[in-house]
């Protein structure tokens, strides 16, 4: 199975995950500071920053794109409850 490495910059932990994993599946278990509200792509609470490796993330879904636009998010921001890691190296941090 294709793997990806996700580094949570705020706590200095890298997790090797199967391709397709959503950040929400791992960020809390590993103890990273990304916080969640609705957990289903509506409230925008879990907005995080992709420090590097955006090219290794899934495209924004229509839902995610709409929420990020509404909260005036920057280009490096994604919702941790929606965004999937597709492969390679990705570095994320809260906010």
């Amino acid at each position: 199975m294709p793997k990806a490495n996700v580094t949570f910059e705020d706590i200095g932990v890298t997790v090797t995950v199967p391709a397709g994993t959503r950040l929400i599946e791992i960020s809390e278990k590993v103890g990273a500071g990304i916080t969640y509200g609705c957990r289903e792509g509506e409230c925008g609470t879990c907005m995080m920053k992709i420090v590097s490796g955006m090219e290794n993330m899934s495209e924004r879904s229509v839902l995610e794109d709409q929420v990020l636009k509404e909260i005036m998010a920057g280009r490096q921001n994604r919702l941790a409850c929606q965004a999937q890691v597709l492969g390679g190296e990705v570095v994320v941090r809260p906010g």
Partner: protein, 433 residues
């Protein structure tokens, strides 16, 4: 009661609710509240700023009708969409067909959620946007999280009047309306800050940076007295309330608070070992508190200023003990989401407390980077050494010096608290029934 002129061509058209005692479940008020709305007349338009709770709409419309005709209204501004300020909006929009609605750009999804209608036309605004009433200009200040994501203030430029929404407001009902005429509302002002604005103090400070340079001649909040006498005192007081009252002697250090409670001294000994370990790391100031020796409120004040929190609890009847939960259920009035959390404790046979506390800490949005330690009954020297290591690791995380780790998803899932509670010191069996 009539509409009240607060400045030439600017009227208070709100409603009094002297019977209110509990507001939004979380607030008490001993003399009710007011829902303040305002009407501003310009040479080519009339603006209504905020409305009132739906139950008080009649009073609001009667006052509005004294100072403006519905067909004159060109502009409706909502500084905050909570229902106590938007209750009369649908009816106002129906009666004033020429009006354009202005809301903060962050309020757009809330408007749909409140009115359950996609049809309502509105203009989203941000700091710097303005709307003209001819000889008067309303300018918007985006002041998010005071106390909802959508909150904004509206600045009447020519008169230097700030319509501040819930900021600088309070639940205090007095028909004399102005701060120099009403009863003593200082307690209500501070109580409102502490319960409504306190969790958002960084946002309070950011908003004050926008507001204070304006030097308002009058502040017109959405609840409580209109602040016309010495208005600058109120932003100044907010700045004091949002800042730590005492200087931190260890300003450059990270601070770790260890709260514990112990029935037989076992969890207490673990707490001391965690402290010793944490203190062995430079740049960390550790404080140890026995929850039996204090009340919740001062501990909440301490927590607000801390960088890390560790909770030590025995497990009694499968749960952490009540003083722990009392403190952990009292943190909604402060911001804790950027802190580090940790948990440890001694147990008799099952030891659920540690993982339950960790789950609560995660629920409060703390990061919990090191799995907690639990010890069966009396800690051995080896187990106390593990507690010291644990304290040391917490301190390294606090100071950003923890070793970087690489783990697999399988390891992560098998160590997940939900399925396999916190690491147990040594090879002690965990689930003796």
């Amino acid at each position: 009661m009539k509409a009240v002129e607060v400045a030439p061509g600017v009227h208070w058209i709100g409603a009094l609710d002297p019977g209110m005692r509990d507001f939004d479940i979380i607030l008490k008020t001993a003399n009710g509240t007011t829902y303040n709305a305002y009407c501003v007349r310009g040479s080519s338009g009339v603006a209504v700023i905020d409305t009132v709770k739906e139950s008080h709409a009649g009073e609001f419309f009667r006052r509005l009708e004294q100072v403006a005709g519905y067909d004159e209204i060109t502009t409706i501004v909502l500084n905050h969409l909570e229902p106590d300020h938007t209750g009369a909006l649908p009816e106002l929009m129906r009666r004033a067909p020429n009006a354009r609605l202005f809301i903060s750009f962050k309020a757009q999804t809330m408007l749909k959620g409140l009115l359950k209608s996609e049809a309502l036309a509105y203009t989203p605004v941000d700091t710097g946007d303005s709307v003209s009433l001819g000889d008067r200009t309303l300018r918007f200040l985006h002041t998010p999280f005071l106390h909802w994501p959508d909150t904004q203030c509206t600045w009447l430029e020519e008169d230097r009047i700030l319509f501040s929404g819930d900021v600088f407001g309070c639940h205090f009902c007095d028909a004399r309306l102005f701060n120099d005429r009403v009863g003593d509302f200082r307690f209500s002002f501070e109580y409102y800050y502490r319960h409504i604005m306190r969790p958002f103090r960084e946002h309070v400070l950011a908003a004050l940076d926008l507001i204070e340079p304006l030097a308002p001649a009058l502040i017109a909040p959405a609840h409580g007295p209109v602040l016309r006498d010495a208005p600058s005192a109120y932003p100044r007081r907010y700045r004091q309330l949002a800042s730590p009252q005492l200087a931190n002697e260890a300003e450059r250090d990270k601070t770790l608070l260890i709260f514990y409670i112990s029935a037989y001294g076992n969890t207490a000994r673990m707490a001391e070992a965690v402290r010793d370990g944490a203190e062995s790391v430079d740049g960390v100031r550790v404080s140890l508190f026995d929850l039996q020796g204090g009340e919740v409120t001062p501990f909440v004040d301490l927590v607000e200023e801390a960088d890390g929190l560790a909770f030590g609890s025995p497990t009694i009847n499968g749960d952490a003990v009540k003083p722990i939960w009392d403190l952990l259920s009292s943190l909604a009035v402060i911001k804790v989401g950027d802190k580090l959390g940790a948990s440890f404790g001694s147990y008799g046979w099952s030891g659920e407390a540690v993982a339950m506390i960790e789950d609560r800490l995660r629920g409060l949005k703390l990061r919990v980077p090191v799995s907690g330690i639990k010890v069966k009954l009396i800690p051995t020297d080896a187990e106390l050494a593990l507690c010291r290591d644990y304290g040391r690791e917490l301190a390294l995380h606090l100071t950003g010096r923890a070793a970087r780790k690489v783990i697999s998803m399988e390891e992560l899932l098998s160590a997940a608290p939900a399925t396999n509670p916190a690491i147990t010191a040594k090879a002690v069996p965990t689930a003796t029934p």
